[in-house]
Assembly symmetry: C2
Homo-oligomer: 335 residues x 2
C-alpha cells in the first residue's frame, strides 16, 4: 500500500519503472508533462483531439500482446480513426496490493516499448494502489493527444450512398486470443491478438484518398457489426455487408464456431473500418495493402440509401440478415 | 457487466449519463473529442502540457466533495501548478458490477458540474465494467490538457536562496475529511475537504509576480512536507519552514492530535505551495488573498543555501526538526 502513498516507497517505484517509459517530459517528475515541441512543430495549426480509455483486460497477458501494449494501441487507434496523428500519451495505473512488482514493471516496459514503436512520447503518468481484493491486479487508463491531419476531418456525416466499406484485416483475433488465454476452454488454437497501432493504415488512407476518405472507426468492443451499426445510425444511411468478404483466419473461425460466437461481434484491437468514396476504393485498398497492419485488407460492403441506420449482412449462403448493435456481453473484460 | 460491453446496454448508459458532462465534442459519441477551438484561440502559441491522475478515494463521498469533483480538481491542480491554463479534460471510469446506477450517475454529474465551474470541457470519456469484487465501486482516471501561460515556465530549478515559500490555505482538511467519512473513528469533527480548483490562485500569482514566481506544486499525497522535500531536492537547496505559520483549522488540528497524524504530511486537494522571489512575496500574498481559494494564504518559509535538498521545520516551541519524504502510508485511498 505504501507504494501508492506518494512518499518514499512511491518514489522508489517510480524511479525503478520510469526508465521504461523514456521521455524527457516524464523524467522531470513534475505532475504535468510538456507535449514534445517537435511533435507540435510537425503539426502546425491542425485541430487537437483527445481520447481516453481504461483497460481492464483479464488475464494481463495473452497471445500476441498484454495490457501494457494494448493500452497504447487502443488509445492511439481512437486517434487514428479520428484522422489524428498521435502527439503524446499519458498513463495512469491502479494496482492491487500484492501485485508482483515484476509483473507491474513488465507491463510498464511493454507500454513504453509500444509507445516507442508508435513514435509517441509518454509525457505524464500516475500510480495508485488499492487494498487486496479491491481491484484485479492492474488497470491502466491511457489518454492520447493527437492532431487531426485528415482534410476534411473524417465523419460519418460525410458518408453517401455508393461509398465502399473496407476493413484493414482479419476480424475477431483479439477477443478469441484473450478468451483462450483464460485457459477455461481447453481449446488449443493458434490465435494471436491483432493488437497493433492503426495509425500507419489511417495515414495511408488519408494520403491515398484525400476527401474521398469519409470516416474511420476501430472495431473494438462490439466488433465490426456494432461499429457499422453506429456508423449507419450516425449517417442515417444503410450499410450492406458482404459477410463472406470479411477476412477471418481459420483458427479464429474454428474457435468461434465451437464457442457459438459471431466473429462480426467479437472485439478487435487492430482492425480499422473505413468508408471511402467508390472512386477511391481501389486506391484505398492498395494503400492499405502496402502497410504492415493492412496486408489483408478487403472491401466488405457498400453504403446504400436503404433504411436509415440499418446494417444488412449478405451471408455466404446467399441469405440476408439484419445486424444490430451487440446486446449483452458475450466476452467481458476483453480490453 | 453488459454496461461495459460496448453494445446496447453501454449505449443506454452513455446516453443517460452524457448530458451531465455537456460539451459538443463528447455529444458526437466518436472515440476522440475535439479540443474546443475557443480554448485554442485563448492560448495562442503557449506550450501544451498533459497531466493524468487515477482516483480511488474511499468512500466515494466525503465532507466537502466526492470522487467526481475530486477527479476534476486533482487533475486541473496539476496543470495549475505547472502554470497552465486548463483547455480540456478527459475521464475514464472503471465500475464494479453491482454499483448502483444512481451512484454512478451522481458522480458523473458531480464531475460535469465541477468541470463547468472550472470552465473546462470534458471532451472524451470511457467506461469499463469489471465483475463484483474485482474493483471497489468506482475508479475514475482524468487527464487534463493545458497551455503554459506562466513566463518563464515555473520550475524548482529557478528557486534561489532568499525566496519565500507560501501556501494558499489551511492544510490537512482533505485527508481528515475522508478519514472521518469512513465512519470508523466515531469522531464528530466538522471537517470539510479543501477539494477545489487552484487555477484562480495560480493565475493570480502568475499575474502578480511575473518572473518572480519560481515554482508551484499542489500538496496532495504526502502533504506539504513531502512537496517541500521534493522541491528542495530538485532545487538542490534547503527550505526552512515556520511550522507555526502554516494555516490549520481548529477541528482539523484536533483530529490530527487525537489520531497522532502530522498535518504537514496529510493530503490536501486545494492547497498550492508556491515559491516566489523575496521582492514578490507581498504582491503574491495580496494576490492570493484576493482569490476565493487563497483567502487564508500565508508566507510559511524561506529558501536557504543550507544543506542540499533538506527541509527544516521550526516548531511552535522554538525547536528544529528535519522533515523527510512521507514514509509508509498513514492514510491509504485518500484520493
Amino acid at each position: 500500500m505504501a507504494h501508492g502513498a506518494g512518499g518514499t516507497a512511491s518514489r522508489r517505484l517510480v524511479e525503478r519503472c520510469l526508465p521504461h517509459l523514456g521521455g524527457t517530459a516524464l523524467a522531470e517528475l513534475g505532475d504535468a508533462g510538456l507535449v514534445e515541441r517537435a511533435a507540435g512543430a510537425r503539426v502546425g495549426a491542425a485541430p487537437l483531439v483527445l481520447t481516453t480509455d481504461a483497460f481492464v483486460v483479464r488475464p494481463l497477458r495473452f497471445g500476441g500482446g498484454s495490457i501494457g501494449s494494448l493500452a497504447v494501441h487502443g488509445t492511439l487507434n481512437d486517434l487514428a480513426a479520428a484522422g489524428a496523428r498521435p502527439l503524446a500519451l499519458t498513463a495512469s495505473f491502479v494496482l492491487e496490493e500484492g501485485l508482483e512488482l515484476a509483473t507491474f514493471e513488465a507491463e510498464v516496459a511493454a507500454l513504453g516499448e509500444a509507445a516507442r514503436r508508435c513514435d509517441v512520447e509518454v509525457v505524464a503518468a500516475d500510480t495508485k494502489v488499492v487494498e487486496r481484493g479491491h481491484a484485479d491486479g492492474l488497470f491502466i487508463a491511457t489518454t492520447g493527444l493527437g492532431a487531426v491531419v485528415a482534410r476534411p476531418a473524417p465523419s460519418p456525416r460525410r458518408m453517401a450512398p455508393g461509398d465502399r466499406v473496407l476493413v484493414s484485416g482479419p476480424v475477431a483475433d483479439h477477443g478469441i486470443a484473450v478468451l483462450l488465454a483464460r485457459g477455461e476452454l481447453h481449446l488449443d488454437a493458434e490465435v494471436h491478438s491483432d493488437s497493433a497501432s492503426l495509425w500507419p493504415a489511417a495515414e495511408a488512407l488519408i494520403e491515398a484518398c484525400g476527401p474521398g476518405l469519409r470516416t474511420m472507426r476501430d472495431a473494438t468492443r462490439g466488433g465490426v457489426a456494432t461499429v457499422l451499426c453506429e456508423l449507419a445510425g450516425a449517417a442515417g444511411l444503410e450499410v450492406e455487408l458482404d459477410e463472406a468478404a470479411v477476412p477471418l483466419r481459420g483458427p479464429t473461425r474454428g474457435a468461434c464456431e465451437l464457442l457459438g460466437l459471431d466473429p462480426l461481434y467479437v472485439a478487435n484491437e487492430g482492425c480499422l473500418v473505413a468508408v471511402v468514396a467508390a472512386a477511391s476504393a481501389d486506391a484505398a485498398l492498395a494503400a492499405l495493402h502496402a502497410t504492415e497492419v493492412g496486408r489483408e485488407a478487403a472491401v466488405v460492403g457498400e453504403v446504400t440509401a436503404g433504411d436509415r441506420g440499418r446494417v444488412v449482412g449478405r451471408t455466404a449462403f446467399g441469405g440476408r440478415r439484419v445486424l444490430d448493435l451487440l446486446a449483452g456481453d458475450p466476452l467481458p473484460r476483453i480490453c
